[in-house]
């Protein structure tokens, strides 16, 4: 006896097993199948005949589900139809390029401005503290314009920028300026997270929006480094050829390039990564896949060396800084790999690799934390140590949460999206910690 329901169910189960369609997609296709079957049976065909014909007309299920995964990465139509050059789009693009050029010049000038008032940028603590304000507001403004951010959010974003600028400049700084230096280091991270609101727009609280911003951040880092490297090569080359005709352009470099170079590189990066998203998208995940095993190997060798040589990281301060930079980089890469992951990807070797990377990072973080606690008890509390302690605890919680969720994911207890939710929610914690270091640390430590 032919059981139609059973057949339809096994058909849609097969579709489901590809993992590329969501329930709504499946229901839509299933309904199509049912309509077709109804129509054919109404014409006098048997249920079995109607089912076979309908399935045939819908086409090869593997191909359909492949199509879905392509739709989600937009690959399919890039192959089929090249997007025509849309005059409206290219006009808008020109406008954006113009804004980028103007903002790059403005940011460079903003950074240079203090030198006109006789401030020596090399040892002015105030200049260092304000460093992020010469660039990040322009990036934020670019996104506010480009994404047509609504008034309420603009008020919030500019409010945060204005209050922060006011407070950090009203705070005095006494030698040895530890808290001021901490402010200078933490400020760009906090402001960048605020920029994220402008980047994402109204959906800034959603997982998807934040994941997109994380991906954007990772790509900015990669491409920004490449562009800065390019600028550096250009600079070396320029001074080399000018030297050959006995003209020293060092003073030009010192007076202009160091201000306008980085601001231009940053603005170009932001523009490229955002506008040429689809081209960048194909390349950056490859980079992440190349580097995550390399980082894993480096960390393992590092831990091994620490154990076998007995060189304790407890006493040497630079050791600790190296540890923490490495941790941040590894966490950044883990998160970037998560964000570059396609929604419909199945579990693969790189997911396991990411899991191992997180595990090793936790060990490294454990070593770093014990070193900090040792230093705290041995040498007493200082702003640097307290900041490092806070950051390492934050990292540890972040990593431990990730590891826990990864394990559950491998055991097929949770969907991958839960990992993304955890990571994106955790961003808020970082923003708050940065704010604490910037606003509260100076008060606690008497602005020293």
């Amino acid at each position: 006896m032919f059981d139609l329901e059973l057949k339809i169910n096994s058909w849609s189960d097969y579709l489901r097993s590809s993992g590329k369609l969501d329930e709504e997609d499946i229901l839509e296709l299933e309904n199509h199948l049912r309509e077709q079957i109804d129509e054919l049976t109404a014409k006098g065909l048997s249920k079995e005949e109607a089912f076979l014909i309908s399935v045939k007309r819908l086409g090869n299920i593997n191909k359909i589900s492949d199509e879905y995964s392509k739709v989600n990465t937009e690959d399919l139509w890039k192959q089929l139809i090249a997007d025509p050059v849309d005059p409206a789009v290219s006009k808008k693009d020109r406008k954006n390029i113009l804004i980028i050029i103007i903002f790059a010049l403005l940011a460079g000038t903003a950074a240079k401005l203090p030198t006109f008032f006789g401030i020596n940028i090399d040892n002015s603590i105030k200049y260092f503290k304000n460093l992020s304000f010469y660039l990040i507001p322009f990036i934020t403004l670019y996104f506010i314009i480009k994404n047509k951010i609504n008034k309420k959010l603009i008020v919030y974003i500019t409010g945060i920028f204005a209050i922060t600028a006011l407070v950090i400049n009203l705070y005095p700084s006494y030698k040895p300026n530890h808290t001021a230096i901490l402010t200078g280091i933490h400020l760009p991270i906090m402001l960048w997270l605020v920029t994220g609101i402008a980047y994402i727009g109204e959906k800034w609280k959603t997982k998807e929006g934040r994941m997109d911003f994380l991906r954007f951040t990772g790509e900015c880092f990669i491409y920004g480094s490449l562009i800065m490297f390019g600028f550096f090569v250009l600079m070396m080359f320029t001074s080399l050829i000018f030297q050959s005709i006995a003209i020293d352009i060092e003073s030009f470099m010192e007076n202009y390039f160091i201000f306008y170079g980085p601001s231009a590189a940053a603005m170009i990066t932001v523009y490229l990564v955002e506008t040429k998203k689809s081209i960048v998208e194909n390349f950056a995940p490859v980079l992440a896949k190349i580097f995550s095993p390399l980082f894993l190997i480096t960390m393992l060798i590092f831990i091994g060396t620490v154990i076998f040589t007995g060189n304790s990281p407890y006493l040497e301060r630079n050791f600790l800084i190296g540890f923490d930079l490495m941790l941040v980089l590894v966490l950044g890469m883990v998160i970037y790999t998560i964000s570059a992951r396609k929604m419909y990807d199945k579990k693969g070797i790189f997911d396991y690799l990411n899991g191992i990377l997180i595990f090793v990072a936790i060990i490294v973080d454990g070593i770093a934390l014990s070193a900090i606690i040792f230093r705290l008890t041995e040498f007493g509390i200082s702003p640097n140590k307290l900041a490092a302690l806070g950051e390492n605890v934050l990292l540890l919680v972040n990593l431990a949460g990730l590891l826990w969720l990864y394990i559950n994911y491998f055991r097929e207890k949770i969907e991958f999206s839960i990992i993304e939710t955890w990571q994106t929610k955790y961003l808020t914690v970082y923003a708050f910690w940065m704010a604490i270091v910037i606003f509260i640390f100076p008060i606690i430590f008497n602005f020293e």
Partner: protein, 121 residues
């Protein structure tokens, strides 16, 4: 006569947008309309319609909603958005250009027919 896959792929977007311009519709109905209005010449692999609809929705040309008719099962209806209308206009122009050029170059009969009519007058 079989219409080539490339041509079907290229005409998919304007066809769907055109159908949705007239009224909101759902996948099965869209396929039926295309079959009917092409006298069964344009036959799609029906399942392939849905990824295309997905993509058009992603691009903001169309949007969907579920609706349950008084009798029968729930259907996912699609409707044309303003951006989709503009896109359709663009496609229309492109196809007009293609059609006009083809007419001029390869439909040799066209001249004769017109001449024939002239003579009758």
């Amino acid at each position: 006569m079989d219409i080539s896959k490339d041509l079907i792929a290229a005409s998919a977007t304007p066809l769907i947008l055109g159908i949705l311009k007239k009224e909101d519709s759902y996948g099965y109905e869209i396929i039926k309309i295309i079959k009917k209005s092409s006298d069964n010449e344009i036959i799609w692999t029906e399942g392939m319609l849905y990824p295309v609809l997905h993509r058009l929705e992603d691009k903001g040309f169309i949007e969907s909603y579920w609706e349950k008719p008084e009798s029968g099962r729930r259907r996912k209806y699609y409707f044309l958005k303003k951006k989709g209308k503009l896109e359709l206009e663009k496609h229309k122009k492109q196809w007009e250009i293609v059609h006009a050029t083809l007419s001029e170059q390869i439909y040799e009969d066209k001249d004769n027919v017109e001449k024939g009519e002239d003579e009758n007058v």
